[in-house]
C-alpha cells in the first residue's frame, strides 16, 4: 500500500490515472452500470490500479492511439489469416506442412514491451515464438518458406510506434 505517494511524479500519476480509467471501464463492462454499485466499482478499480502499479511500474512510455489502432488492425488481420492458414493446412489432403525453426531479430529491449510483443507474435499466421536467445526470437513455423520474419518486423515497427520508445 505504501510507496505510491512517496515517489509521486507526473508520469507515475499519469500512468495511474490512465490505468484506473481502463480498469474502471473493464469494471463497467463486467458488472454493468448501477449507481449503488459505484463505490464498490471505484474501490475495486483502486485495488486493481494499485496491484498494476506494483506489478508493472510505469516506464514513461506513451500510448499513441492512432498508431495503436493501426497495430490492432494489423493484429486482427493477422489473427484471421492465422486461423485460415491453420484451417487450410489441416483440411488439405497432404497437410502442406514444411515445419521448422526460424529466427527473427528483436529490436525491442528485454522487458514488458518485448513480452507483450511476443504475445502478439504468438497469434501471427504460421509462426509461434518458442524462445529467446539474446536479442533473437526463435520461432516455430508451419512452413519455413513463409515470410514470417518480415511480417513480424512490420508488426514490431507498428508496436514501437504505438507504445513509444522506452
Amino acid at each position: 500500500m505504501s510507496g505510491i505517494e512517496s515517489d509521486e511524479t507526473p508520469s507515475r500519476a499519469r500512468a495511474a490515472a490512465f490505468r484506473a480509467v481502463l480498469f474502471f471501464a473493464f469494471w463497467l463492462a463486467i458488472s454493468g452500470w448501477k449507481a449503488t454499485d459505484l463505490p464498490v466499482g471505484l474501490a475495486a478499480t483502486a485495488a486493481a490500479t494499485w496491484a498494476s502499479l506494483a506489478l508493472m511500474p510505469p516506464t514513461g512510455a506513451r500510448v499513441r492511439f492512432g498508431a495503436l489502432a493501426a497495430l490492432a488492425a494489423h493484429f486482427l488481420r493477422g489473427s484471421v489469416l492465422a486461423g485460415f492458414d491453420v484451417a487450410r493446412r489441416a483440411l488439405s489432403r497432404d497437410l502442406d506442412l514444411n515445419p521448422g525453426f526460424v529466427t527473427a531479430p528483436l529490436r525491442l529491449p528485454p522487458g514488458n514491451a518485448r513480452n507483450a510483443f511476443c504475445a502478439l507474435a504468438s497469434l501471427a499466421p504460421g509462426s509461434l515464438p518458442v524462445g529467446i536467445d539474446g536479442d533473437t526470437l526463435l520461432l516455430h513455423c508451419l512452413d519455413v518458406a513463409q515470410p514470417v520474419a518480415s511480417y513480424l518486423a512490420a508488426q514490431e515497427t507498428l508496436f514501437i510506434r504505438a507504445l513509444g520508445d522506452e
Binding site: L28, A29, G83, V86, L95, L97, L123, G126, G131
Partner: protein, 97 residues
C-alpha cells in the same frame, strides 16, 4: 432488420464453429507436438472470436456486448501466454515428441 441481424449471427457463429472444427482436425492430423500447438492456438481463438461476434447482436445492451468482448480478450491473452509457455517447454525437451 432483425432478419439481417439473425443472418449475420448465423454466418459468424457457423464460421466460428468451422474454425473449431478445423482446429480439431489439425490436432488429429498434424504430425508433431509443436505443429499441433499451432492448430490449437490459432484456430480456436479465431473460432471463439467469431462466436462472440455472432452473439453481439443478440445482447441487451452495449455493456453486455463489452463483457463478451472482455471474455474474448481474456481468452486471447491466456491463449497467447499458454502457447508460448507450452511451446517453450516443448523446445526445452528437444522438440517434437
Amino acid at each position: 432488420m432483425n432478419f439481417a441481424l439473425d443472418l449475420f449471427s448465423i454466418a459468424a457463429i457457423a464460421a466460428g464453429a468451422f474454425f473449431f472444427f478445423a482446429g480439431s482436425v489439425g490436432l488429429l492430423r498434424f504430425p508433431d507436438s509443436l505443429t499441433r500447438l499451432h492448430a490449437l492456438s490459432k484456430a480456436d481463438n479465431l473460432g471463439l472470436g467469431l462466436v462472440v461476434l455472432g452473439l453481439l447482436p443478440r445482447v441487451g445492451s452495449l455493456l453486455d456486448a463489452l463483457k463478451l468482448l472482455a471474455i474474448w480478450a481474456l481468452v486471447l491473452l491466456s491463449g497467447a501466454a499458454s502457447a508460448q509457455l507450452i511451446g517453450r517447454a516443448l523446445r526445452r525437451r528437444g522438440g517434437d515428441e
